[in-house]
């Protein structure tokens, strides 16, 4: 592939990483079963998922771009779905609460006044512990988490792919370098949306989905800056070599 499209890969990957954070249900107070979502900060969780994706994608380095992206998506989605399973197990048998969406129960989600789960159609309201904002990950947030995992994995793999093939001509230890830089770009982009989410989101049906344009724009600017630097380093070095 030519360098310009590789640079576009890095930019698109960075933006996808930013957007994926909105889809992954996460909430720090989830650790006290006090709020719906996986019990950790959104940026940390998406970073953990994204790294699994990059690691999976690295195995498919020689199989072409599409296989790499698919492999990354599968790795990240697997990590998210297993974490949801683990979190729900602890909520069910450690704390003794059923998974339930707090925002849907209070009728403030994007679904309007409906208090039922979209996927299963189960009523949410009576199952919320009084005084909390839901707990665990019900079916609709699990689906949203898988979508987020796929987006994050594709995004991480795209950044990795872009950086890797940009520096193949100029470096010996490309995998080491591009893995580290892909992780760095992933980190920078996944913290920005966490600021708009203020530490808590329920995923696809949360009202905070409406802040995606802000995330999109800021991640676009930041990724463009980083991609331009890597692109110019690569071009400069290959010119110097000629």
């Amino acid at each position: 592939m030519d360098p310009v499209s590789l640079m576009l890969f890095i930019i698109a990957g960075g933006v996808l990483v930013g957007i994926c954070v909105h889809f992954i249900p996460a909430s720090a107070v989830g650790a006290m079963s006090a709020s719906t979502g996986i019990a950790t900060g959104p940026s940390m969780l998406s970073f953990g998922a994204g790294l699994t994706g990059i690691l999976s994608a690295s195995f498919a380095l020689d199989s072409g771009p599409v296989a790499m992206l698919a492999s990354g998506a599968a790795g990240s989605a697997l990590m998210i779905v297993l974490t949801i399973l683990g979190g729900n197990l602890v909520n069910a048998f450690g704390t003794g609460v059923p998974p339930v969406s707090g925002q849907t129960a209070s009728g403030q989600s994007l679904l309007g006044s409906s208090t039922k789960d979209v996927i299963t159609g189960w009523e949410q309201k009576p199952f919320v512990t009084p005084g909390t904002d839901g707990h665990g990950m019900p079916a609709q947030t699990a689906i949203s988490g898988i979508i987020g995992g796929i987006l994050g994995g594709v995004g991480g793999a795209m950044v990795f792919l872009g950086v890797h093939f940009l520096i193949v001509p100029i470096s010996q230890e490309t995998a080491a370098f591009s893995g580290m830089v892909a992780a760095g770009i992933f980190l920078i982009n996944c913290v920005l949306p966490a600021y708009t989410l203020v530490g808590k989101t329920e995923g696809l049906f949360d009202r905070k989905m409406l802040t995606i344009p802000k995330t999109f724009l800021s991640c676009l600017i930041v990724s463009t800056f980083l991609a331009l630097i890597i692109y110019s380093v690569s071009t400069y070095a290959s010119m110097g070599a000629v």
């Binding site: 989830g30 950790t40 953990g48 990590m79 450690g94 299963t120 009576p126 995998a175």
Partner: protein
Amino acid sequence: MFQILLLGSALAGLLAFLAGIFENEDSDAGSASNPNSQVQLAPQIEHLHRYYNKAIAGEPPQNALWAALAATVAYILYTRIGLDPVPGVILGAVVGALITAILQGMYGSLAHISRIASMKNFKQMLYWDCLLSPLPLSMAYTFLTALCLTLLSFVIHGLLGSPFPVPLIAMFLGFTLGAIASSTGDVHYGAERLYQHYKFGSGIAISKQGDIDVKGEYGYRNSVDTPYFTLRFGGPVTGLTFGLLIFIDALSRISGSVWTSVILEFLIIALILIVIIFLEKYTRNRYGPFEEGK
């Protein structure tokens, strides 16, 4: 090739399972990660405690440091000593994990003392034995976590054939394990162990937060008591989650074709999703709705 991949997957799954348990116990013994906010909040509402308040960082970055440091030292030692791969790697990993455990102990005690010093207004005393008795325990768990993650990185690099160098894989796995442990095992500590005086079967309302248990089975609770409780459920679930992740990811690649692995993984994801929905149905039927006024 097939045999090596199979051996690699089995070893990786085993090591990941162990690393998950140890990591979760390490964070619980130091009340790290998200439940830390409760231990931090408790003195403000007059619950003076004897917990070890090990606030090093969020769980993912701190774990990434332990894993990356141990793996870097192990890799350097392994390449320099020139032993056979198996004894060389194990020796290197043990030395690396030892250095890591010492660093963790330093970071942890600095954080504990400094955080207690910041609580002057709430009359929280610093009891040295509350720091010194859980410290070796927490360091030992860090040693085991770092050891398992380092060996796991060598397995993924050497037997499964990832192109990334060992320290980078270790950092990635450290971050991932931290994210998983803080979102599965810590719920058992934060929502149940710290709030055992509330009735089983409810989340902790925001208004009740900070009202933690300071007394234990007998007398005041110390952080050494925590793994006694969380090792029975929270730890193994964390291990199961991380172990399954590494094992499924490795095993799906056994045929050698990328697309088979992707299709297999998505099939498993769909299967797990069904399990999640059945679990939800089971808990709803089993526990029933909350009654009004409770």
